[in-house]
Symmetry: C2
Subunit: 335 residues, 2 copies
């Protein structure tokens, strides 16, 4: 197993210790719990809290986005496993600054079940919550059952936009509504070239031949929609954008942001080569790109491959996207 780790069972705790050592000025553990991270920035009373949760192994998602202008709290479980409802509830309570908490997370069975329970627990303590699920992965279910889709890299846009809305002191319902609007206009599709290894399991999550690519692969190695012979960067860009725009048609004059997200082992050069083609294809359709995001935002440890996210923007979403944010792995210095 080619991993730079100590004991596999300490992988998550030690990652969290590293985050605290490095970014203790911006984030802190909740009551010393190495599975719950909350912001260390001063928070204005009455601001809506934004929290998420999910399995480990996807950095910078989710822990890397706790700070100012994005998430107030994040609970994590073991690699690819949900944290407990109790930890989520503890986090929700501490992230209530008087105006309630938005739970914004990926649509996975365990996370959903535990968050629902956590919201009930929070309700006993009179903490108001709203839930917005991220279901951006177009390949994980057909359009007719889009509510079953998994949440992947598009959640980063949702964190950014909801976080900015909360900073502007919008109400809980307003923040939930703008997060939902962002997600209604967000689609993602991923392609994988190699699997990753869960440290405590010690073997690859799936197998794929050296000259093959899997389209629509999930970030935990969930099967995609098709395995093909390796494609060129341009073919990948065309295929992915076609699938996304089939699901969410774009029109001339639309403005979008595009995220090319490396899944772990895919170099920035390759991500840029794919972005180049996406940009050209969109431009040829009269669609302009605002604040593209290229890099590793939501990974699957050392998986090779990438995902493409398109979010259709209006003036409100643009303003929230460009608002300042300061977290360990997302800094936006715009004014």
């Amino acid at each position: 197993m080619r991993k730079i780790i100590n004991k596999p069972e300490n992988f998550v705790d030690e990652t969290m210790e590293g985050i605290i050592c490095a970014y203790g000025d911006r984030v802190k553990l909740l009551n010393g719990d190495k599975r719950v991270l909350v912001t260390n920035y001063p928070v204005q009373k009455g601001k809506v809290g934004i929290v998420t949760a999910g399995g480990s192994g996807h950095l910078p998602v989710f822990l890397g986005y706790v700070g100012q202008g994005m998430l107030d709290g994040c609970a994590v479980g073991n690699v690819f496993a949900s944290p407990s409802a109790q930890k989520m509830a503890d986090m929700i309570k501490v992230c209530d600054y008087g105006s309630g908490v938005l739970c914004l997370y990926g649509n996975y069975g365990g996370d959903k079940m535990n968050f629902e329970m956590a919201c009930e627990l929070a309700d006993f303590d009179d903490v108001e919550t709203r839930t917005v699920l991220v279901c951006d992965d177009v390949c994980s279910s057909p359009k007719e059952t889009a509510e079953r889709r998994r949440g992947v890299a598009g959640m980063v846009y949702a964190f950014k936009i909801a976080g900015a809305a909360a900073e502007k002191m919008m109400t809980l319902d307003e923040v939930a509504a703008v997060a939902q609007k962002a997600l209604d206009n967000t689609r993602t599709m991923g392609v994988a070239l190699s699997p990753c290894i869960v440290p405590e399991v010690g073997k690859p999550t799936f197998s794929i031949k050296d000259d093959e690519i899997e389209l629509g692969m999930g970030i935990h190695g969930e099967p995609g929609i098709e395995v093909r012979k390796m494609m060129t960067a341009d073919e990948i860009a065309e295929t992915v954008l076609a699938k996304i725009t089939e699901d969410m048609p774009l029109n001339e004059g639309d403005e979008v942001s595009v995220m090319v997200n490396g899944l772990g082992a895919t170099p920035l050069e390759e991500q840029l080569i794919v972005y180049r083609k996406l940009h050209e294809l969109l431009k040829n359709q009269g669609i302009s790109v605002y604040m593209p995001h290229i890099g590793e935002f939501a990974t699957s440890m050392e998986m090779a491959g990438l995902s493409v996210t398109v979010i259709r923007l209006d003036e409100q979403l643009k303003e929230l996207l460009r608002s300042p944010a300061s977290t360990p792995f997302y800094t936006n210095a715009n004014k």
Copy 2:
């Protein structure tokens, strides 16, 4: 070859096209040349220009640091190959804003030869230049011949510090002196777990067994100092820090910045686990860490492994490090 590319011979041009599509607000090609990138920010007349050059395949080094507060220009060659002296000279001339240009680059034969020629060409046009070489890789030559050492991830600190000094309108000699001071206090060591593939070559740069790690490996696959059975993250942190501090002793009360730099395929989680141990080892020696940098800063495409850089700071270097910068892959929002 598991790469998301088109024709291998177009790898660098298409990467550059991607950069321009994505970040054309901040950077531009020099006269349409897809091997020379210059800042697109307004530059104050009389500011010292900062330029670098080197082979492609190391993003975000070097192209990703052109913008405001770091580099004004960067020329690149093919993957792992130097650009021509003429391209460097063209860049130097356009990055002279009236007070001369600092050439700040890694100590590699081709880059050095071409930059020396480029500086002569610039001199014909009355552009004053200074050169500061990055030689931070402790494993590439013994201390007695430290001037032969290769330049690796430590150059990012040098870019940041020299760039900030130039923004403060320091003179060419002053900027060169502070860059040199930064580098005199900078040491890096890398470890590799897997090779990368140069697109036009199509096969791995070296071979290493699945259960082995190479200490001191260069970012082009230059041989290291030792191949060992795979080590734990803590052992790697201890070994690397011992080698660095043997070369540059640190004292109680010293303040340093530490960069844990993923070489390409190593997850952020693993980088944070290594950082955690480095932080603990330094803390136990009474040394504090200022603005740690964890992530991919200077890569070798899809190589697995990481490097550790330690830079010893004084008040001047701290101030320059925390100064604002805005480039495609380095944003510092501090005031």
